[in-house]
């Protein structure tokens, strides 16, 4: 059985408003986008749902603009990153607050083992975004720069700072 590729499914949605084609497209990428959204949201389910939902809807509204220069999944991820950035825009202060706090300040359980996901959740949204995109999702600095509307150099320096912060969080919370 031939399985329609993303381009064919997008074509069916655009030409026929075919909801089955859209559902197949959704099913194919839902898990990927959900996990990206969770990471961007630092494990916050409610925010992840909002990120994933809005990213899908925005992508659907702009399907005609998808030119196929990148993989659909990459294109879709760009929407998630932007939605996350908008939702977290009010959290800019978080960067400062987090930087000022001691890594041990909010450790509630003495024997808590802080793994990478918890450390990621404690990063500021800006740092978390670049670590997730580069180190976990494998995007290049050029791709990240395009998604975030910055230059590649900014992405690199942001990543370096984020990694240092992440390392400190992990070291500080490891018994």
């Amino acid at each position: 059985m031939s399985v329609p590729d993303d381009g064919a499914l997008i074509g069916a949605v655009l030409a026929h408003r075919d909801d089955r084609a859209f559902s197949v497209l959704y099913d194919r990428h839902a898990t990927y986008l959900w996990r990206l959204a969770l990471r961007l949201a630092g494990g916050d389910d409610a925010m992840a749902e909002e990120i994933a939902h809005d990213a899908w809807v925005r992508a659907a509204e702009r399907l005609a603009r998808f030119a196929g220069r990148s993989a659909f999944r990459t294109w879709l991820a760009g929407f998630a990153v932007n939605v996350a950035r908008e939702l977290q825009r009010g959290d800019v202060h978080e960067t400062c607050a987090e930087e000022l706090s001691s890594p041990r300040d909010d450790v509630t359980a003495v024997d808590a083992r802080v793994d990478v996901s918890r450390a990621l959740a404690r990063l500021s949204p800006g740092y978390r975004r670049v670590v997730v995109l580069h180190d976990l999702e494998g995007f290049t600095h050029e791709e990240i720069a395009a998604m975030l509307g910055v230059d590649a150099g900014t992405s690199k320096s942001q990543l370096a700072r984020a990694r240092r912060r992440l390392r400190r969080l992990l070291e500080g919370d490891t018994p």
Binding site: R17, D19, F22, Y26, R35, R39, E49, A60
Partner: protein, 183 residues
């Protein structure tokens, strides 16, 4: 490594997304298409059915050639219909396609709702909908598959998207072939 990496997307998210894109007119809602492609997938088997399967002749082109026959009965209820809203058709199609490609499917299809019950005295009144069992369920479709044993039949049944939408599946061995393979 990341605890939240393995969490699957919530089912409600898919329905929410689909509702939103429908509301914006990006896609059109189609009528419920339960098992619609399944019917096409096993159309050949249906022809065999008409050609004498009931008369006891073995289907000559059934995909599966080994193992026992099992009937999978796809039960639905009102909450199942509400949960799916017809959006599950592509999933069913993909599942049925892959099952059919593996050679396991002999026959199957969607059952239309209207049921006519007959008895020795003649036809009973026609029902507008399918007969419901004591749990309020009805059979929305069926498959006859080949499987080496009941465990494999159950594994196949469990892989169906039907369960994720809250439907239930009855797995029953076809009499006479449970232990001896093909008739």
């Amino acid at each position: 490594m990341n605890a939240f990496d393995d969490r699957p997307p919530p089912d409600s998210l898919g329905r929410h997304v689909l509702r939103s894109v429908r509301r914006r007119g990006i896609v059109r809602e189609r009528p419920a298409l339960r098992l619609v492609r399944l019917v096409g997938t096993v159309l050949g088997a249906a022809v065999l059915f008409a050609g004498g399967f009931l008369a006891g002749r073995r289907p000559t082109a059934a995909a599966g050639t080994n193992g026992n026959r099992y009937a999978l009965l796809f039960y639905e209820d009102t909450s199942f219909i509400r949960a799916t809203g017809g959006s599950h058709a592509p999933e069913y199609a993909a599942w049925a396609d892959s099952l059919s490609a593996s050679g396991a499917v002999e026959l199957g299809g969607e059952l239309l709702p209207r049921e006519i019950t007959i008895a020795a005295a003649g036809a009973a009144p026609e029902q507008d909908g399918p007969a419901r069992d004591s749990l309020g369920r009805w059979i929305g479709g069926f498959l006859v598959i080949r499987a080496s044993n009941s465990a494999e039949a159950l594994r196949i049944a469990r892989s169906s998207p039907h369960l994720r939408y809250g439907g239930t599946i009855g797995v029953r061995a076809v009499a006479g072939v449970e232990s001896g393979g093909r008739r």
